[in-house]
Amino acid sequence: MSDHVLSSKMYYGIWIALMVLTVVTASVAFIDLGPLNTVVALLIATCKALLVVLFFMHVKYTSEKLTKLVIVSSLFWLLLLLFLSLADYSTRHLGHG
């Protein structure tokens, strides 16, 4: 992890951004975007998560490539679980499988 002390202004800035995004996501939920509602909600959540990971958890400032590899790998594994399971469920009603 990095040794240099980061400015408190940066932390407050990220905090504001996270609050804004929270209010946005709660508000947008009331607008009818059809199937995009889910997409937008997850995108906003991902932005918030990225802000926390990169800035609060210092991943942006670390020179450790291994940390980033661990994060990316675990997310990839989670997606493996989700999508390969979905491969079954989403094709169950095709043909006579």
Partner: protein
């Protein structure tokens, strides 16, 4: 040759401190390895006891030894104990704990106290499982399939599930410790491409432990919640899907079989070059194949569900992926064999086990490919063909690798040589007993005998009797090493630092090692398996 460094005079990790407290509160990875050795050996015999009862029942076609419900408990407890309390921890927790720091020139693992915690979690889990067994046991099969386990079983599902949950945590922490240790604590000069393949194997195993076990954990938690609170996540009468349980369960439990086999492969990769007096052939291929197995192993789980009701299209995908996962294993077998070519082979006990491993693992692995073919699987799934397949890999493979490793590193661990003649005899008995037990089961399965059945048609009896006879021989083969290892601790020949003339940092320190492993931290300037530079030892003697 043995110098005057008699163990009683020199301080090492065994005699540094005496007393129960010094063992139960130790943070020395070597002592923790021995604590694990005692615990998993105990559970091996518990699981083996259930196996003997199963084989006794199957001597006759009628269900006449135990009742059907009891039989269900026998094969369930056999599976749960053997998988979670023997196979998964075995090599990593015993040989891995002992050797990983030594092989990389470190004083201990990265987190010694967490290592001790791992053992205590294992013991707590073991006690929970024992309590479950003596208060009635579980009858769901080690696979806990729903909705039987959630809605219908009236046995101790919750306790067994929680016991395995705790054991899983132990496994996760061991994996975490190994990954951090291997990344952060290698000796100067020890680059990734100079690491022993045992380390690569344990690194790959640890990745599986870290990424797979948590999914089993949450699945068991959901099963427990379902039983406790009457939820319906896996219950079809309440909108749930039993296949969801199977997807989540096998997402871990398939990679789990690679947790069980990869460390054994690492052991074989150490034994074969040593007793061929040759550098390993295809170091990079073997190293990367371990990683490949760890990764591909996560892509194939639904091959356990081909007839359960998954879609045909996903079955085809998982079938193809299952063929892929065999490739890295095959690469290993070819490379080990190529290592032996034109080598100077000695048939020591560890090498005999390695031979056994290569042959039996290959058979087990190839029969896995039969099962991966959808058409064949429809015919032989849930028959003894499957039982034989996985026992060839788990017993013919993993357990033989474990025994080979125990013999190979016994001098390092105990400072004593085991009696070589008895070692070779036991290896032979294990090999013969194993094949007599499990080869007939391939035939039985192909002929249609279902697994988990407590009675069967009379035409299957001859093969069943052969199998049971084999299991008694196998039992003898397993008891022998226990006896002579214990015997050797008092009466065995005192071991050199490097009785086998083996490569690896662990052989550059005393047998048994000092508590901090090395007098001086080594600096590595040579490649792995430099057998061209290491003189062969004096011929391994057969004298007692």
């Amino acid at each position: 040759m043995a110098t005057a460094a008699i163990t009683a005079e020199r301080e090492h990790y065994l005699n540094k401190e005496y007393g129960i407290r010094s063992w139960l509160l130790t943070t020395d990875h070597k002592r923790i390895a021995l604590l694990y050795l005692m615990s998993i050996t105990f559970f091996f015999f518990v699981g083996g006891f259930f196996a003997l009862l199963i084989r006794l029942e199957l001597l006759t076609p009628a269900g006449d030894l135990v009742q059907a419900d009891t039989y269900n408990k026998l094969f369930t407890m056999h599976g749960m104990v053997m998988v979670f309390f023997f196979l998964i921890p075995s090599i990593p927790a015993v040989l891995g704990n002992f050797l990983v720091p030594m092989m990389i020139g470190a004083k201990d693992l990265a987190f010694p106290r967490i290592n001790l915690l791992s053992w205590y979690l294992y013991i707590i889990a073991g006690l929970m499982m024992l309590h479950c067994i003596v208060t009635g046991g579980v009858d769901t099969g080690w696979t806990f399939y729903t909705p039987f386990s959630t809605a219908f079983a009236n046995t101790k599902v919750i306790e067994a599930g929680l016991a395995i949950f705790v054991a899983g945590f132990s496994s996760i922490l061991t994996g975490l410790n190994f990954v951090v240790t291997i990344h952060r604590m290698r000796a100067p000069g020890l680059t990734w491409s100079r690491l022993p393949l045992f380390i690569w194997a344990h690194y790959a195993t640890s990745i599986i432990q870290l990424l797979g076990t948590p999914v089993l954990a949450i699945t068991l938690v959901l099963v427990v919640f379902e039983r406790l609170f009457g939820l319906g996540i896996f219950d079809p009468t309440r909108g749930g899907d039993p296949l969801l349980f199977q997807h989540l369960f096998w997402f871990y439990s398939h990679p789990a079989v690679y947790i069980m086999i990869l460390p054994s492969m690492g052991v074989v990769a150490e034994i074969v070059p040593c007793f061929s007096r040759k550098r390993i052939f295809g170091y990079k291929a073997i190293a990367l194949s371990s990683i490949a197995i760890a990764v591909f192993g996560f892509l194939v789980w639904a091959h356990h569900m081909f007839v359960a009701g998954i879609s045909l299209y996903s079955a085809m995908i998982f079938s193809i992926l299952s063929y892929l996962v065999a490739v890295p294993s095959a690469i290993k077998v070819f490379n080990w064999t190529a290592t032996m070519y034109k080598g100077s082979i000695s048939f020591s006990t560890p090498m005999l086990y390695a031979f056994g491993f290569i042959g039996l693992f290959t058979m087990g692995g190839l029969t896995g490919l039969f099962l991966a073919a959808l058409g064949i699987d429809v015919h032989v799934t849930d028959t003894y063909f499957v039982v034989a397949h996985f026992h060839y890999i788990m017993v013919g493979g993993a357990v033989m690798g474990y025994l080979g490793g125990m013999h190979f590193w016994w001098p390092k661990i105990s400072g004593r040589m085991y009696p070589e003649a008895w070692g070779r005899l036991a290896a032979l008995i294990v090999f013969l007993g194993f094949n007599l037990t499990f080869f007939p089961q391939f035939v039985l399965g192909y002929m249609g005998m279902p697994r988990r059945y407590w009675q069967y048609p009379a035409e299957f009896q001859v093969l069943n009797v052969m199998s049971t006879a084999g299991s008694t021989i196998l039992a003898v083969g397993y008891i022998l090493p226990m006896v002579y290892f214990l015997w050797s601790m008092r009466y065995g020949k005192i071991a050199d630092d490097n009785p086998w003339g083996a490569a690896g940092l662990e052989w550059k320190t005393a047998s048994p090692p000092p508590t901090f492993n090395f007098e001086e931290m080594p600096e590595v300037t040579w490649e792995a398996y430099n057998y061209d530079e290491i003189p062969a030892p004096v011929e391994v003697s057969l004298e007692r």
